[in-house]
Symmetry: C2
Subunit: 339 residues, 2 copies
């Protein structure tokens, strides 16, 4: 069989080869039952021979839908976002839509990029600190379904997130139960709503102890390490409660450099339960990351269906998924703890 089509074949060429109209080609290839089995087969083989794939833009234009949805996240650096995105992709793909990703990652033109993305999809998930509420509201007002993930709600927009304050409170109480009296929260509540929620919970759970807030910027390992280098030489907290695991791991590194033993000299906690946390013996909080992504994708799909089937729009939904305290060694000496 000669390999013909090096340049894209169109439906017209298939129609010509199969000696039918393009309407029939369209039907045959889309499994419509309005064509004879014989015709269908003839069309199919013609399509195969020409290596034909329908032009996605043309199809989208005609159908009025993209068959794709997008997700915007600040970064993919930590395993946290990766897991969420993976959960999202799996669910979205299962319902037949492609996934566009966009990492705002300190991009200066984030808002423009998100708007551009919005023009390519049937629905959009926006995670955390990526763009202003104003941008989100603007897109949502277009009628494009939007789901917010790990982010403060916006009027009329669905929101999925993981619980922060409740578990944070439990975490702080656990620390106090260990006898720690000088607590430091390392992280900037202004950096993300998640961090804000965690700090609030920690405050609520720190009764009977002195809590200091150190606004370390950045949520990565090096930020944590640098912040800790300064912090530990100056103050002498019993425990450092970090905004996330990466920061906590950085603190662990800094502590080790300064010869501080964890947890004897210093307790450290994180948030996210990264794989590394397990091996670092880090007490932390587990979030259902995969499930966060999956839920967002599922909700988005429902909205898209709603839109197309002219149903009356249901009210904005909000859900907070449960998080779980994971006690390991870094929070204080226990009788016997192995993960």
């Amino acid at each position: 069989m000669a390999m013909k089509a090096l340049s894209k074949a169109t439906i017209y060429q298939v129609a010509q080869l199969a000696d039918v109209s393009i309407a029939t080609v369209s039907r045959a290839l889309r499994d419509s039952d309005l064509v004879t089995a014989e015709t269908r087969e003839r069309v199919r083989s013609a399509a195969r021979e020409l290596n034909f794939t329908p032009s996605r833009p043309a199809r989208s234009l005609a159908e009025g839908r993209h068959a794709a949805n997008g997700i915007v996240f600040p970064d993919l650096i930590g395993p946290y976002y990766a897991e969420v995105v993976l959960g999202y992709e799996a669910t979205a793909a299962a319902s037949g839509s492609s996934v566009l990703i966009l990492a705002t990652n300190g991009r200066p033109d984030a808002a423009a990029a998100v708007r551009e993305l919005a023009g390519r999809v049937d629905g959009l998930t926006v995670m955390g600190r990526t763009v202003d509420d104003e941008v989100v509201a603007g897109i949502a007002s277009t009628g494009l379904p939007v789901v917010l993930l790990a982010r403060d709600p916006v009027d009329g927009v669905d929101t999925v997130r993981a619980g922060n304050s409740g578990t944070a409170r439990a975490l702080a109480e656990h620390l106090v139960g260990h006898g720690h009296r000088t607590l430091t929260f390392l992280g900037d509540p202004d950096e993300s709503p998640d961090v804000a929620g965690r700090y609030a919970g920690v405050r609520a759970g720190s009764k009977g102890a002195r809590l200091t807030l150190v606004r370390g910027k950045g949520l990565d390992l090096d930020s944590g390490r640098r912040a800790a280098e300064q912090l530990l030489t100056r103050a002498k907290p019993d425990a450092v409660i970090c905004a996330n695991d990466e920061v906590a791991l950085g603190v662990l590194l800094a502590a080790s450099e300064q010869g501080l033993r964890v947890p004897e000299d210093l307790a450290v906690t994180g948030w996210d339960d990264l794989l590394a946390a397990r091996f670092a013996g880090l007490t932390t909080v587990r979030q259902p990351m995969r499930e966060l992504g999956a839920t967002a994708a599922r909700w988005l799909n429902r909205r898209i269906d709603e839109n197309s089937s002219e149903q009356n729009r249901t009210a904005a939904r909000r859900r907070i998924l449960a998080t779980e305290l994971v006690i390991r060694q870094s929070c204080g000496v226990h009788e016997e703890v192995r993960s």
Copy 2:
């Protein structure tokens, strides 16, 4: 200002409102210098008022390009792929194209999904064990630019990968240098070309020791753990060389359960240098993950430009990025090692 357009505005409405033709709208919005500043501004404000965003499918159809490219990977579970994808996204976005992702992840219809993806992009990056060479060749023969990542080359297709055998050999030699004489390679060379390359390198470096191959399937933590549970009760190797870090971490877990000390009773090594490896004291190999993704994106872009500018196609390129041995504690007792 009344919020008009809840339903998508089109270029016609903008044209009408600005009292010009759609051709002029198109020009004005695309920064063509063939329009008066005055006209441009009028069009812009009309577009703003209608909250107009050009339809991406229509534009793609007319331009004959998607302004997007895609990346296919087996999974996003490990931090490995996440980093690569992030590097890819960053570079692709910088050159103005959106990114579509597809995780084949044990999907039964992977080939179909990849073909569908191919119809949505101007270029495609295919990573590791996702689809057969046949599928790749088929897509490439369409004229669509393709770059292979961490995968055995296919005729006429660019390939970027990280070095395996050389560093693997050095790793094995290091192990032998520690005095280990009973080596086990844990991982299935048939699972991925990377694993095959690593095994080959280890074989080359194991002179003077006995090397056993244990074909543990799966490259995740639990696979490693389960494989090790069986392995360690039966055989008693001095050292287990794992196909990647996750497997190695699983082995660490299993060893700890059986009361084996690492590295005194058992040496363990991984591959990838995950964040967790650092905290587990795991000797491993670092790959330039971000750079792998970025290179793929860059090459893809070049190919796309080549295609559109009718240049004569340059020959397929291949590059192997350097990897680096990272010695920590798990490979054997050193005088003094801190990472």
